[in-house]
Point group: C2
């Protein structure tokens, strides 16, 4: 398999699928819809919907019911970035080399665009209730909501924000909580939903939850590493921005070497789970490997 | 029927039901959960969950499946107020005589508390998938998402915000759009979900959607009227705050007399729908009447 070529093709396919679910930019609320679509189309790796689709295929899924959930998962990821970039939060004017939503549409509209994306994610996922396999949509919706919510991503975000505002000295435990909730939760969600919608049993879904944990934490540590070591050109955001913001990262707590070791160890844990199953997806395994070696 | 006494009792019952679904204030994300519960418990009429419960009873519902949806509906209402009060939006420090969420917890935590409430609304509604009557939960979830979303409440909010920021001169059509979407949508949602969960057919659900439209718009016009005529003590917020903010209201477009006439006409439309059905709920009809004569 030519992984890079395969990845490019599958990301393009993912882009096409999720793009179908965007709202048309019309009506009195046109600016809102423009701001939402601007945020959604500002790029990104599409890692979450791609993971969902690959886990769906891994368990033999070949229907359409995964599509609204893929779009919903990416909308939730997007809204979290829009709100994260707000002046009251990280106050970022650029992301991936493009102006952030509030930088273009103003703060009020960015708040509403984020709200709109989160709500529209659930509205989009609701389409599954009238599709083939609808009997699995309820559990999928539950996973989507839980992992994105106050015991998932938002929970992690809140702890992160509070630590920064109060300039709290984070210990390893709290930092891991942030990484697990802020980053791993949506990756777990994507993988679990893909598997469940394809008919995987609850035991398999729980295995993918563990794999998603390892992948998500590894992915975030890698992010922390890249923030220190990468160049502006490769990353599309100022290098060392975490350090500049005096933000505590995995690297600043554990050092570069241990951080790299942990990324590798976690990735191996995830691979072991994926390789030990009867159902296999070679591309998915390659994708996990690529997350360790990524340069941006 | 002693309506006032009955109302008090049913609101208390509603409070008790929805209160059961609040998150426990514990864990690393404790501040987030406190901010959410503070916002939720800051008072309010509980009109939406009460309407949902009464429509549920009207169609013979006597199960528990309506409960998570009642809580979800009020969480969505609450989050919309939390975000609406933010400095970038209406910048209000008080609501119902109490400090707003961002005034107490700071702007970043208020954004996250709003996000948390919106997401937790869907998470809470998902509980219905494992309750008796679960086969109706999907459609109820769809109504909840649609009416709260970009073609419902958030859509109205966006048009309102944009008009204010750009100091646009609103015409009657755009003002009605705002009232219908920003206010009526959640009332429609509450009534439709209550009826649907009790087993009402789609035709009945659509009738309640029309009633909810009339009630919602009447309710909002009444709000505009009260803003002009009420006293601070009765309302719990500064009188004439809309006027002070140079906000265009129904009263400023159509005048006080026509506004009062329209409230009465819309209320009568709603009552006609409710009274013409075989299923009746006397208390619900009294509640609609009380909305015209309310003083706060």
């Amino acid at each position: 398999m030519n992984f890079e070529k395969e990845l490019q093709e599958r990301v393009a396919c993912t882009e096409e699928i999720i793009g179908k679910y965007l709202p048309k930019e019309e009506g009195f609320q046109k600016s809102l819809l423009e701001a939402m679509n601007y945020s959604f189309l500002a790029g990104g790796k599409r890692l979450r919907p791609l993971l969902m689709l690959e886990c769906y295929k891994m368990f033999g899924g070949d229907g359409q019911i995964v599509e609204p959930f893929m779009a919903a998962q990416e909308m939730i990821h997007t809204y979290s970035l829009v709100h994260d970039d707000l002046p009251a939060m990280d106050n970022d004017l650029y992301r991936r080399g493009k102006k952030t939503t509030h930088a273009v549409y103003g703060e009020a509209m960015a708040i509403l665009a984020g709200d709109g994306l989160l709500n529209f994610a659930f509205e989009t996922a609701c389409r599954a209730f009238s599709m083939e396999g609808a009997e699995r949509a309820g559990r999928a919706m539950q996973i989507l909501a839980e992992k994105a919510g106050i015991y998932g991503m938002i929970g992690g975000q809140a702890v992160d924000v509070e630590a920064e505002k109060r300039k709290l000295r984070l210990d390893g435990e709290k930092l891991l909580f942030i990484h697990v909730h802020k980053t791993a939760a949506l990756i777990q969600s994507a993988m679990m939903i893909g598997a469940h919608l394809a008919g995987a049993d609850e035991e398999a879904v729980r295995e993918l939850e563990k794999a998603g944990y390892a992948i998500g934490v590894a992915f975030q540590i890698q992010d922390d590493i890249l923030d220190i070591t990468s160049t502006l050109e490769e990353l599309g955001k100022p290098v060392g921005s975490d350090e500049k913001n005096d933000k505590l990262t995995y690297v600043s707590v554990y050092g570069l070497e241990k951080s790299r070791q942990d990324v590798e160890e976690l990735s191996n844990q995830a691979l072991e789970i994926l390789r030990n199953r009867q159902e296999r997806n070679e591309f998915l395994e390659e994708l996990v490997i690529s997350l360790i070696t990524r340069r941006k």
